[in-house]
């Protein structure tokens, strides 16, 4: 099993969610986060006073999927979240040791 974590632009969330549903991902977790990468922050200007905002709002998506699905998930996110501009985000893949469905006690890929 793999845990796919993607940091994307907030306005791309709906596209990514649809793309993941289309390839059969059963569930995702979404968190509003802030951070910076190569895009750096941005500046805000109030009556000539300039403030640098270091952290930009992003959305973090987490999806636990079976190992054989991981490549398709990565492809789906990459395609759906891509704008071609700086700041599109990143995808991180982790090995997932175990998963348990709390209601039934099922574990492993059955719990996904």
């Amino acid at each position: 099993m793999k845990l796919v974590t993607a940091i994307i632009k907030p306005f791309k969330l709906d596209d990514v969610r649809e793309a993941l549903s289309d390839i059969g991902v059963q569930g995702i977790t979404v968190t509003e986060v802030k951070g910076f990468g190569r895009q750096k922050g941005h500046t805000e200007l109030y009556r000539g006073a300039e403030y640098v905002v270091d952290f930009l709002p992003k959305v973090k998506i987490e999806a636990a999927v079976s190992a054989d699905m991981a490549d398709r998930v990565i492809e789906a996110i990459t395609k759906a979240a891509n704008t071609g501009k700086i700041g599109d985000g990143k995808i991180f893949i982790f090995d997932l040791e175990q998963a348990i469905r709390i209601r039934t006690g099922e574990s492993g890929p059955d719990a996904l």
């Binding site: 805000e44 200007l45 109030y46 009556r47 000539g48 006073a49 403030y51």
Partner: protein, 443 residues
């Protein structure tokens, strides 16, 4: 006749020159109540009060940080209440009583009125000012006396102790506002009135007066902790835009109401107010777009207020095209003052009271001397533009010096009595909790 029904406003000055038929006629007849005028002035009074609460309170509240939102709203609200009481006790009399005044004679009553109308003595059911009840005139003027000190609040926002604020405003209203209003508006014998300063609705009395007091106050109190290195962005520009919109609407009472009649001058004042405001809003917006790459909400709202300020002294005298120029000049001029000038000099006028009200007021006062001329679309035939601009300059300088020095002395006195500033810890905590034990947002 004018000595008995003497009152403020440029309308009277126009009347003196015989350009305003309805008032000129009042010379021939005993003044009688006009229900149309009265209805308009009742409305105007409500509109001008609406400018301070909630208009100005929201305009300012949106620009401070979230921890000071109640602090600044409270200051506006408390000033409204304080000035109302002082106005009834002695303020109206100090500003508008005409005992002992004579045209061309400079005596003590050229500077402030006697106390004959203290406790609103003689202001009853039947007393009239022009063609409206004196009670209405008194209330209308009261709303101007309220908004002027409230404007100053923006200069020292986020750091003044509430008790010090009340002391300062009470004294400032008494020894700065009331005398200046008297000198400009009380009629023959008033110092600046006799000089011939054109100030239809309060460019000097309200805006330059408050603007210079704000500059002095922010210098005496000192910068906010962390200024200018720490980010202090406005916490809710939606409030600010709503507040600016309320100011814009309320200003029709301020300017068109200053005709003290429902007549042609009021109509023209309304038209030029709308036009100058729009012109200034666009002026600031485009100047900012050019200088910084993007037009901003704070910019267009600030520009609108700058335009309202600048057209205030001019509103009863200039025509629509004059208004267009005055507005554009104020929009660009105040943009430069609030951004470049403030940064260059490094003073912490938190919400740009000086940059918008003093600078906008000065631009308006001087250009009034230009565009009041009939040849430029104004209402003054044969106006000597150079001479009038010089008189306007004298009015501006007098107000800057009187209010600037007076405010400085009052601040020093209040500093000794109660201390002007909150402690550093209270400032960091915010005025809402430290001064009022409340928070604006419990989310």
């Amino acid at each position: 006749m004018f000595k008995q029904i003497k009152g403020r406003s440029g309308a009277l000055m126009v009347g003196l020159l015989g350009l305003l038929p309805s008032l000129a006629m009042a010379e021939d007849a005993t003044p009688t109540l006009n229900s149309g005028d009265t209805a308009w002035m009742l409305t105007s009074t409500a509109l001008v009060l609406f400018m301070t609460i909630p208009g100005l309170a929201l305009f300012y509240a949106g620009m401070v940080r979230a921890k000071n939102v109640l602090g600044v709203m409270m200051q506006c609200f408390a000033i409204t209440a304080l000035v109302t009481v002082l106005w009834a006790l002695y303020g109206y009399s100090l500003a508008f009583d005409t005992t002992g005044m004579e045209k061309g004679v400079i005596n003590v009553y050229s500077f402030f009125g006697s106390l004959n109308k203290a406790f609103l003595s003689g202001v009853g059911l039947d007393s009239l000012t022009f063609t409206i009840p004196e009670t209405v005139f008194m209330c209308f003027q009261m709303t101007f006396a309220i908004i002027t000190p409230a404007l100053i609040v923006g200069a020292f926002a986020e750091r003044m102790k509430f008790s010090a604020l009340l002391w300062f405003m009470g004294i400032w209203f008494t020894v700065i506002y009331a005398p200046i209003a008297h000198m400009v508006w009380s009629g023959d014998g008033g110092l600046l009135w006799d000089l011939g300063v054109l100030d239809f609705a309060g460019g000097t009395v309200v805006h330059i007066n408050a603007g210079i007091a704000g500059l002095v106050a922010c210098l005496v109190l000192g910068k906010r902790k962390g200024f200018p290195t720490t980010a202090m962005p406005p916490h809710n520009l939606g409030y600010t835009l709503v507040g600016a919109s309320m100011l814009w609407v309320g200003w029709f009472g301020f300017n068109a109401g200053s005709a003290v009649a429902a007549n042609g001058t009021a109509g023209m004042a309304m038209a030029v107010t709308q036009i100058a405001t729009a012109s200034a809003a666009l002026g600031w917006m485009f100047a900012e777009w050019l200088a910084h790459g993007k037009p901003s909400v704070l910019g267009i709202a600030s520009g609108a207020v700058a335009g309202l300020v600048a057209i205030t002294p001019a509103s009863g005298f200039v025509g629509p095209m004059g208004a267009l120029v005055i507005g554009a000049a104020a929009g660009v001029g105040c943009f430069l003052a609030a951004t470049k000038l403030k940064r260059a000099l490094g003073y912490d006028d938190s919400l740009d009271v000086f940059g918008v009200h003093a600078v906008g007021g000065i631009i308006g006062a001087l250009l009034t001397g230009v565009f009041a001329a009939a040849s430029l679309g104004g209402s003054k035939a044969d106006l000597d533009i150079g001479g009038q601009v010089w008189i306007q300059t004298l009015g501006v300088l007098f107000t800057l010096v009187y209010s600037g020095i007076g405010s400085f002395i009052i601040l020093k006195i209040v500093d000794v009595i109660v201390g002007l500033r909150v402690t550093e810890e209270q400032e960091t905590e915010g005025l809402d909790v430290s001064q009022h034990d409340e928070r604006g947002y419990i989310l």
